[in-house]
Amino acid sequence: MRVGHDTKRTPGTTSGLLRRPLVALVALATVGVLAAGCGSSSSGSGGSGSGGGLYGGSSVPTTAPSAVATVSATSTSLGTILVDGSGRTLYLFEKDQSDQSACAGACAAAWPVDQSSGTPKAGSGVKASMLGTIKRGDNTTQVTYNQHPLYYFQGDSGAGQQNGQGVDAFGAKWFVVNPAGGAVSGGATTANGGGYGSGG
């Protein structure tokens, strides 16, 4: 049996550490923690970007591609902002250009796009003339408002959360959108997206 360096060692120079079960225990514990991390990070699925498995994925249920999206306005601590038909907060990405998304791959997994199968419906407080759609590289249709492509945030687990407000990710900031079609810059957060506070 080949045992690498160990066979060449003399009894006096073989490291005592190697014989200690503590080393093996620490190594195995580290592997265990790592495996647990793999398990917890691989939960979730869906999203419009790549995701799933080891890579992780979005836990945000986006609008089904076959459904027509609805965009409404609702009052929050950040002011009146855009949400989807179920009250989920919608965001814009500062790096996007007019009717053009700069978010794909891992970005779109963290910030799932608001998809629609056709012209989105304008809910209360929203100007229908500002609503539109763009075709993405993966052939999905993304809702836009005032030519800003709209996204969800993976860190929002339900309606009424704005954990993505002010987050700096993928090279620019993310903001909630007001009914006038602009970014709401207040309440910028430096907290983890998993938090609940959105500032004021």
Binding site: V3, D6, S15, C38, G171
Partner: protein, 171 residues
């Protein structure tokens, strides 16, 4: 019988480690090597898969290019500890994992802006696919590579790495 006692002592002093001890050492070594390589492999996969989303974050080099370089380095040093578990291999694995972990923590919590040729990689969220997993893997690789380095001191270790030698003064 003094002569016999001397022989016994001499014999006992030269008895090589038993098969059990060698087998245990080999098992510990393989556990460390495989676990370190696996941790670095996770780091590599996450960085490689996320790289394209960061190509637009540019300085002299883009963040995407840095991610690909990190992935390549992690693969190389991971294979190094797996195939040739020398102190230099463990040291390389430790440096790659520690620098990656340091970078992800720095840019998560401190907005340092652009640094020299590096782009502004500030990102105040863990909500990026694989980011937290990758950080855990890097931390694990740091621990494992340190253990690997400490447990692979061969007879020539102090000669080749005098700066890390214990129990003797420099120069």
């Amino acid at each position: 019988m003094p002569a016999l006692d001397q022989d016994s002592r001499a014999s006992a002093a030269t008895v090589p480690p038993g098969r059990g001890a060698l087998a245990r050492s080999a098992i510990v070594s393989w556990v460390l090597r495989i676990a370190t390589a696996a941790a670095l492999g996770i780091d590599a996969v996450v960085h490689w898969q996320n790289a394209s989303a960061y190509d637009a974050v540019t300085g002299t080099v883009s963040q995407g290019e840095l991610f690909r370089a990190e992935a390549a380095l992690a693969v190389v040093v991971g294979l190094g500890v797996l195939v040739r578990p020398r102190p230099s291999s463990w040291l390389a694995a430790l440096l790659v994992a520690a620098s990656a972990l340091g970078a992800v923590l720095l840019y998560r919590y401190v907005d340092v802006g652009s640094l020299g040729p590096l782009p502004d990689m500030y990102e105040n969220t863990w909500q990026v696919p694989g980011k937290l997993l990758s950080a855990y893997a890097e931390a694990a690789a740091v621990v494992l590579a340190t253990l690997g380095l400490l447990t692979h001191r061969t007879p020539g270790w102090n000669r080749r790495f005098p700066w890390a030698a214990t129990g003797r003064k420099r120069g």
